[in-house]
């Protein structure tokens, strides 16, 4: 059953890329995702993959090259972080708008400025509405597993949307941890061959990304929006099949000790594990606390989240990204939106945490649980948009 290994999150993604053996990888290095490109280009040099590796001169070019390669019918992948993702911005929309099933491993890092190389989610959260499916990963294992499943989701004929697989920069990307890898042949079989619906190099006349006039643009946007809605079912089907292969069963989110919980923290990526530890510690004292870890952020599992939190009394939604919107972070907005109109639903507050690599400790989550307790006891929600870990706040 699998191969017992110890790899960093970056090595895990590079390994998955090697096993998938994409037709084209176009990438430009940026900390902390550089290692993935580094490892993968070595696989190319060593002949371990047949991939055409395109060393481009910027992330804008990387995504442009990926769009070209994908339109030519190639299974295409790239990797980036932070400002690199920001430089891809324009093309992210082009990729999803042209319905090109590119996969992108995002190693989450704070956006400038001021410049910072450490982890938060401002990069991928900024790209949350670009028409890309987004999967988040607690650790190296989940980064690997999510990545292996990403092609199947992206390339499904009813979906045809690009997929981002996100993990936390340095915290998991550069940490060595145990991991169970699949054998190469099993990955190859699971991912399967790629049969694109068209190809610019098929010899048949094909136009990709033509000017979309008023009578058609809205219909194409509706197609993309529907594909995002419909992708939930496809994602669950792929997760299920992956579970049958590996024994690792994933859902749109993970409910950790939520069954009889009164208070819960909603969080994604590496801090979810830290929150689970805080949860266990409080559970040992008899406190009814739980963790809901989001895996699939786009499409957002609206009905499922609403159902999962309906029995709670108080919920804290954690955002490792501030929206500067004056109404809280992006995860919070979507969670609260999902719960609108619920009778007797929980009180919901937002915590911005861990920006720019600020270490997120077990104690931070204990503090959040205590504050939820306070809300329940006093019946007063108080400030909704909060920050944890900032000096003087």
């Amino acid at each position: 059953m699998g191969i017992r290994e110890r790899l960093s999150g970056n090595e895990a993604v590079a390994t998955a890329m090697r096993q998938i053996n994409p037709d084209v990888v176009a990438a430009y290095p940026i900390t902390p995702s550089t290692e993935v490109v580094h490892y993968f280009s070595q696989y190319v040099a060593d002949g371990k993959v047949d991939t055409e590796f395109v060393a481009v001169e910027s992330e804008h070019s990387a995504m442009s090259a990926c769009i070209g390669a994908s339109a030519a019918g190639g299974r295409t992948a790239t990797v980036t972080s932070a400002c690199g993702l920001a430089l891809m911005w324009e093309l992210l929309y082009v990729a999803s708008g042209a319905r090109l099933p590119i996969t992108l491993a995002v190693v989450n890092r704070a956006l400038s400025g001021p410049i910072n190389i450490n982890n938060d989610h401002s990069d991928s959260m900024g790209a949350r509405d670009s028409g890309w499916i987004q999967l988040y990963s607690e650790n190296n294992q989940e980064a690997y597993d999510n990545y292996i499943m990403s092609n199947r989701i992206a390339e499904h004929k009813d979906i045809l949307l690009p997929v981002m697989v996100c993990q936390d920069g340095f915290i998991t990307s550069h940490a060595i941890e145990n991991i169970e890898l699949l054998e190469d042949d099993k990955v190859k079989k699971f991912v399967g061959p790629y049969n694109p619906g068209f190809s610019l190099i098929s010899g048949k006349p094909t136009s990709v990304g033509p000017y979309d006039t008023v009578p058609f643009y809205f219909e194409h946007q509706y197609q993309r929006a529907r594909a995002m809605v419909d992708s939930k079912k496809v994602i669950l089907d792929v997760f299920k099949e992956f579970g049958q292969l590996t024994g690792r069963n994933y859902g749109l989110f993970e409910e950790y000790r939520m069954e009889d919980a009164e208070r819960a923290i909603i969080v994604l990526n590496s801090s979810a594990g830290t929150a689970k530890f805080a949860c266990d510690t409080l559970r040992a004292k008899g406190e009814k606390v739980g963790v809901l870890k989001l895996r699939v952020f786009r499409p957002f599992p609206m009905e499922e989240i609403a159902k999962a939190v309906s029995h709670l009394k108080a919920v804290a939604v954690m955002d490792k990204c501030d929206s500067f919107s004056a109404i809280g972070g992006p995860v919070f907005g979507d969670v609260r939106n999902s719960c609108y109109g619920m009778s007797n639903g929980p009180q919901i507050i937002n915590y911005i945490y861990g920006l720019g690599g600020r270490d997120v400790r077990v104690e931070d989550f204990t503090f959040v649980y205590e504050n939820l307790d306070e809300i329940i006891k006093t019946g007063k929600t108080g400030e909704i948009y909060r920050h944890v870990g900032v000096r003087g706040v």
Partner: protein, 193 residues
């Protein structure tokens, strides 16, 4: 997780503290343990104080924060004792292991009243004699940590390291002997208080 051992490494950029933490993670992994080995990253620069961490346990640790209450602290460069709070949060039942030519008694005054065990090992000297470069103290430091902490049985560790050196230095076999000697000497020469 009662069986979890947490280790914090203090070094300076370029001395291999991060590499040592990854080597320790490797050795513990080969023993069947669950491991975490990770550095704290800033803009990397030679000579700047850096910190690296290990969690070693029988079950997967889900915590992804730095380590604030370590069982062991390893100081790869003794000049850090006056520059960084090396004993901060260090458990009394634990120990600090310092690369120094001094005795543990001589260094106690620099440890902010730390009441636990103090060990020294002249890792730079061993590195100079066995590897020809005193700037590579991480192999002897690793030997001292395993000896003091007992997280890996010594003979298993020595055997595993020999294999990993053979793998790592397959193109430079002359380096293998030096590293093995440095490792074994450190395990013998570490001095405790």
């Amino acid at each position: 997780m009662s069986n979890m051992v947490e280790i914090r490494w203090h070094g300076r950029g370029g001395q291999g503290a991060k590499t040592a933490s990854l080597l320790l993670a490797d050795a513990a992994f080969n023993m069947g343990k669950y491991v975490q080995g990770f550095p704290e990253y800033g803009p990397e620069r030679m000579g700047a104080p850096i910190t690296a961490f290990n969690r070693i346990s029988d079950e997967r640790s889900t915590v992804h924060s730095n380590i604030y209450e370590p069982d062991y602290v390893v100081v790869v460069d003794a000049t850090l004792l006056t520059a960084v709070d090396t004993t901060g949060g260090l458990k009394k039942e634990g120990a600090i292991i310092i690369n120094s030519n001094k005795s543990p008694e001589e260094l106690v005054p620099l440890l902010d009243g730390y009441e636990g065990r103090v060990y020294t090992i002249n890792a730079s000297n061993i590195a100079e004699e066995e590897l020809g470069n005193r700037n590579f103290p991480n192999t002897p430091m690793l030997g001292a940590v395993v000896k003091v902490s007992g997280i890996i049985p010594e003979e298993v560790f020595v055997k595993d390291m020999e294999e990993s050196f053979h793998h790592k230095f397959s193109t430079k076999p002359h380096v293998i002997d030096g590293n093995m000697k440095a490792l074994k000497r450190a395990m013998k020469e570490v001095k405790g208080l």
